[in-house]
């Protein structure tokens, strides 16, 4: 909803009258990186023969390459970057200015290799170096001029190589061993004194970045004055002091230090350091601990060093397409990753030291009016939101941003933006709202937004914008407005409609009207609720703020009118085909019900499985029963031949059926899932009698054909006998019959002769109970036949 409100308010904002230039982190010498900046970099590399001793592995080349790459990365953020690679020793060996960007980077690196690999000069003459540098920048109209000066030692006209004398343009004679001290003593004055080369460079706006391979303590006072004075120490009185100085005594660290020292257009995360295991993690929290919210970061540069021959590895990252430049000799790895405004992480392993830089883009303020129309001499409220490089900023990130306005009181951010309250708008045709937004050091954006002001003419006015409206199909959709008639008059929609873009890119035209009319006549009175009808010319998925200009004419001054803007947060979808919805939902319900039925039925089949007699050691035995009627009309059943244990057999069983001789048990599962499964038990005879033997809940029954039992009846002990209808008739006539029976018996309970004896006892007991059941059934049948109570 908050987004909708923002979108609605965004529709109220007019185009900015002017946006001030973005200010981003500075280049050396307080030079601001912006789209108008022209940058010139003179990379001045020592070529003295001492480098063969101090930097035998040419680590300066790797460092100088990193410097060039750093400035090349600026190319798309400024108007132009030019670079010249020059060398110095006893002479100044100029290069040529060339445009530096990603296309010419390879050529520039070749020049670095060509110049940086030379170490044939016999002396180190600072005067010639600075004279050449001043000459290179002479006449430059670049807005940012940088001298990156690398040297491995002090100013030195080496006595051992003077031979017949060395000609110096600042010394009237040839320099020989006899006067070399006198010549060298001129150096600091020529560079540092008023009007010297340091002043000339400073006057031209050149900032010196000085990199010394060695330690300051090894320098003589004169050289230290030049290097550190031009490198930013004002106490040494050498130039304007707008430069920087850094030294490194270990040549293997030189590329890392030079790469770190040459980062421009970014700020350093001083707290980012590897842990004791050499792992370095940079994520949004680490960046957020810097001076600006991580949502503004556009590039993270991880300059890391492992050990010589073993540069750190990029272990993992959640950011797409990081670029990695690794140098095995120096053990340095430079990773460039581009955050997208969301949480991220970049993990490096094998890191011994690191410097992490973040390039960020200042948030841009966008000013909106909270009311559709502004009136002179009335209070007003403006909403300021912040647009970052990756989209609009919301939530806690706003707390990191400072917003100031000279036009009114700025509130604290509420999660979406800031509000500016103006107690009374001026009596003028327009009102300029100027907002300055500071996202961090050097990250400042300001904007001036002009809003037209209406005279107070008391024409009908919409009091508040309507709430979100949603619907389907073509409409009409009713939108209620709160309208204050004031002195009465006419409120018109001009034009009566607006367009919105559907999700498939098609344009949907919405027509609005007051009951079919473009205008509404109102009498003076209290605030009224007025309904606008919105009708679309086509259906589609769309969600947009419809902006419909309004024009109000007061009844008291028909020749005057005021403009306004009606913003309707409108979401529309095509009309759903109800039959199709019903089919889909019914289909889904049927699917679910079918699955449920399948589950219930399947479970019933599982539950109704007949237990495995093999696993439960159940065997069956067939036996013969002598059935004879007694003189009292009862039946007497006695075991004609008891089974012995050797006659016990294993029943044949499947999960749905068990056959034990003539005994059959069949699983029965109803398709109606709430009916429990059961087992149908029978002997294939007209009548059966059954008794579930001792040890289990007893059950004796006599029934026709088969009876309904349980699957676990198959575990026994169970005695079942079968009688045919003929046998029953003969029994009724008083003739004894032989019946067939089956015993299901768990042979774990007894073995051998014991099994035979126990089986006989079980059958005997069961036959007595079955006979009694038969007798009772016959008595009931007789009583029913005779009508006896």
């Amino acid at each position: 909803m908050r987004r909708l409100l923002l979108a609605a308010l965004a529709g109220l904002a007019l185009l900015p009258a002017g946006v001030a230039l973005a200010q981003t982190p500075e280049l050396p010498g307080d030079c601001v990186v912006d789209e108008n900046a022209a940058v010139q970099v003179l990379l001045l590399i020592d070529q003295s023969g001492s480098l063969a001793r101090t930097d035998p592995d040419d680590q300066r080349l790797t460092g100088a390459r990193a410097v060039v790459r750093s400035y090349a990365s600026l190319a798309d953020r400024v108007s132009q970057v030019e670079i010249q690679v020059a060398g110095f020793g006893q002479d100044y060996r100029p290069g040529e200015w060339m445009v530096l960007d990603q296309d010419t980077l390879a050529t520039a690196l070749e020049r670095v290799d060509a110049v940086g690999s030379v170490e044939d000069q016999l002396h180190t003459d600072y005067v010639y170096a600075m004279e050449g540098a001043a000459g290179a920048f002479a006449g430059s109209d670049a807005s940012c001029q940088i001298l990156f000066w690398f040297t491995d030692g002090e100013h030195d006209l080496d006595e051992d190589y003077l031979a017949d004398g060395l000609e110096r343009n600042y010394f009237p004679e040839l320099v020989t061993q006899a006067n070399v001290t006198e010549a060298e003593a001129l150096m600091p004055g020529l560079i540092c004194d008023a009007g010297g080369y340091a002043d000339q460079l400073g006057a031209a706006g050149v900032s010196a970045q000085i990199m010394l391979l060695g330690t300051e303590s090894q320098l003589d006072d004169a050289s230290r004055r030049v290097l550190q004075g031009m490198g930013g120490d004002p106490s040494l009185q050498c130039g304007p002091g707008n430069g920087s100085f850094q030294s490194v005594d270990d040549a293997s660290r030189l590329p890392f230090i030079m790469a770190c020292a040459s980062q421009v257009g970014a700020y350093q995360l001083t707290d980012a350091a590897p842990d004791v295991n050499g792992n370095l993690m940079v994520n949004e929290a680490v960046v957020d601990a810097g001076p600006a919210p991580y949502q503004l970061a556009t590039e993270v540069r991880l300059i890391t060093r492992g050990s010589a021959g073993s540069p750190p590895d990029l272990a993992a990252t959640t950011l797409p397409d990081p670029s990695t430049t690794s140098d095995a000799d120096s053990g340095m790895n430079v990773v460039l990753a581009r955050p997208v405004g969301a949480p991220f992480s970049v993990e490096m392993s094998g890191v011994s030291e690191a410097c992490v830089w973040v390039a960020a883009q200042a948030a841009t303020p966008v000013v909106q009016s909270s009311a559709p129309s502004l009136y002179q001499d009335e209070p007003a409220e403006f909403l300021v939101v912040a647009d970052g490089p990756h989209g609009r900023l919301e939530g806690e990130a706003l707390g990191r941003i400072q917003v100031d306005s000279e036009n009114g009181q700025v509130s604290a951010p509420d999660g979406t933006g800031w509000s500016i309250r103006v107690s009374a708008l001026p009596i003028a045709g327009s009102f300029d709202v100027r907002v300055e937004m500071v996202s961090g050091p050097g990250l400042t954006q300001s904007v001036t937004q002009t809003f037209p002001l209406n005279e107070q003419i008391n024409a009908p006015a919409i009091v508040t914008q309507p709430g979100p409206v949603s619907g389907e199909g073509l409409g009409p959709f009713a939108v209620d407005l709160e309208v204050d008639p004031r002195d009465g008059g006419e409120l018109c929609l001009t034009p009566p409609g607006a367009a919105m873009t559907a999700a498939n890119g098609e344009v949907i035209n919405a027509t609005a009207g007051f009951a079919g009319a473009d205008c509404l006549q109102m009498e003076a009175g209290p605030v009224q609720t007025v309904t606008i009808d919105l009708t679309l010319d086509r259906s589609g998925f769309a969600h947009q703020v419809l902006e419909i200009p309004t024009r109000s004419v007061p009844a008291t001054s028909p020749d005057r009118a005021e403009e306004g803007l009606l913003a309707i947060d409108f979401e529309v979808t095509p009309r759903a085909n109800p039959a199709l919805v019903a089919v889909i939902v019914v289909g889904l319900m049927l699917l679910m019900l079918a699955l449920l039925w399948a589950i219930l039925y399947g479970v019933n089949r599982l539950i109704g499985r007949i237990p495995d007699p093999r696993r439960n050691r159940v065997r069956y035995a067939e036996f013969a029963v002598e059935v004879s009627p007694t003189e009292y009309g009862e039946l007497d059943m006695s075991l004609a031949e008891a089974p012995v244990d050797s006659q016990f057999r294993l029943p044949r069983r499947t999960p749905s059926r068990l056959d034990a001789g003539s005994f059959r048990m069949q699983r029965m599962v109803s398709p109606i899932p709430w009916l429990p499964p059961y087992a149908r038990i029978g002997m294939g005879t007209d009548v059966i009698g059954a008794h579930q033997g001792p040890g289990l809940p007893g059950r004796t029954l006599v029934t026709e054909g088969s009876y309904r039992g349980r699957a676990r009846d198959a575990l026994g002990p169970l005695v079942v006998i079968g009688l045919s209808q003929t046998q029953l008739e003969r029994l009724a006539e008083g003739t004894s019959q032989k019946a067939h029976g089956v015993l299901l018996f768990d042979i774990r309970t007894a073995r051998g002769a014991d099994a035979s004896r126990i089986a006989a006892e079980i059958i005997d007991d069961s036959l007595g109970l079955i006979a009694a059941e038969f007798t009772a059934m016959n008595m009931v049948a007789d009583m029913e036949r005779t009508g006896e109570a």
Binding site: F541, V581, I584, M589, M592, I599, V603
Partner: protein, 139 residues
């Protein structure tokens, strides 16, 4: 639901007293309670997936789509299999059980019904409306 609910591990199921039988009963009981837990948690998950989501699905609402699809998948992959286990273990229990107010069987059935009702009545219905709107508007 009957007044005497058979439940694994309760009542007269432990008639033999043998360790194997006790183990079967304990295993059955664990499966039963696990299935009840899955049913209840799935219902909560499906309800959670419905929270805060708009009724109208529109193109580009990938996360909202995903939540409804996930809810249906949870129903098919978790709820229905859990209900099968729940039903089997409950039906295979031989004993009877004295029921407290919130007996596991009631929670299991409630979990199933809530899951199905939300999966069909909310997630399924909004997807059905979306499909029907696309059918109307685009085809």
């Amino acid at each position: 639901m009957s007044s005497n609910v058979p439940i694994p591990g309760g009542g007269a199921t432990t008639t033999t007293g043998r360790s194997a039988a006790r183990s079967r009963v304990a295993t059955s009981s664990r499966w039963f309670y696990a299935s009840v837990a899955v049913l209840a948690l799935s219902a909560l998950l499906i309800a959670f997936l419905a929270l805060g989501e708009p009724w109208n699905l529109a193109p580009g609402m990938t996360a909202s789509f995903s939540r409804s699809i996930v809810a249906l998948v949870v129903t098919l992959v978790l709820v229905l299999p859990a209900f099968a286990v729940f039903r089997y273990e409950r039906q295979s229990a031989g004993g009877r059980w004295h029921e407290p107010a919130w007996r596991p069987s009631l929670i299991g059935w409630a979990g199933l019904l809530v899951s199905l009702a939300l999966a069909i009545g909310w997630h399924g219905l909004r997807l059905a409306f979306y499909i029907a709107r696309v059918w109307t508007g685009e085809l």
